[in-house]
């Protein structure tokens, strides 16, 4: 999947994986296999979010794009039609 919707879908998928892995590792902290999956997914997510923020709009409040001014609080929320995801 490519484009805005595809990129957001990839972010959704990798984030869900990380959400579940976080809970798994809380109870299985010695699982080397899942630790390395977590590390890989973490890097994948950072790259995807960076790409999305640069091309389509802000995702994370600590890292909004500020080159063209401030739009964090005015850009539509993702469930709004105007967000067009």
């Amino acid at each position: 999947m490519t484009g805005k919707e595809g990129l957001m879908r990839s972010i959704t998928e990798v984030s869900f994986t990380l959400d579940e892995l976080r809970l798994f590792l809380d109870t299985h902290p010695d699982c080397e296999e899942m630790l390395s999956v977590f590390q890989a997914k973490k890097e994948e997510r950072a790259e995807l979010v960076g790409k999305y923020t640069e091309k389509y709009g802000d995702v994370e409040g600590y890292y909004p794009e500020t080159k063209n001014g401030w739009s964090w609080n005015t850009a539509p929320m993702p469930w709004k039609k105007e967000a067009d995801i």
């Binding site: 957001m8 879908r9 972010i11 959704t12 984030s15 869900f16 959400d19 976080r22 809970l23 809380d26 109870t27 709009g57 802000d58 995702v59 994370e60 409040g61 600590y62 964090w72 850009a75 929320m77 993702p78 469930w79 995801i85």
Partner: protein, 70 residues
């Protein structure tokens, strides 16, 4: 402490607005047995948990359940 992101945990696209269905869905989020109440119970119980590792887990579960309420 939380921060939010401008994205949804699961994509939502409303094609046909349905107020009756919306009323049911919102009570699952904010109603008496909803996600919001559940998340706040996890997050207040974490303070009474003597085992630090489980207290940390409860913080993470409460946070995850809160995602589902927003």
């Amino acid at each position: 402490m939380w921060e939010y992101e401008k994205r949804l945990q699961y994509p939502v696209k409303i094609k046909r607005p349905d107020a009756k269905a919306a009323k049911i869905i919102i009570s699952q989020y904010g109603g008496p047995d909803g996600e919001l109440g559940a998340s706040l119970r996890y997050l207040s119980q974490r303070f009474a948990m003597p085992d630090d590792r489980v207290a940390g887990l409860l913080t993470d579960i409460g946070t995850e359940v809160l995602f589902c309420a927003l």
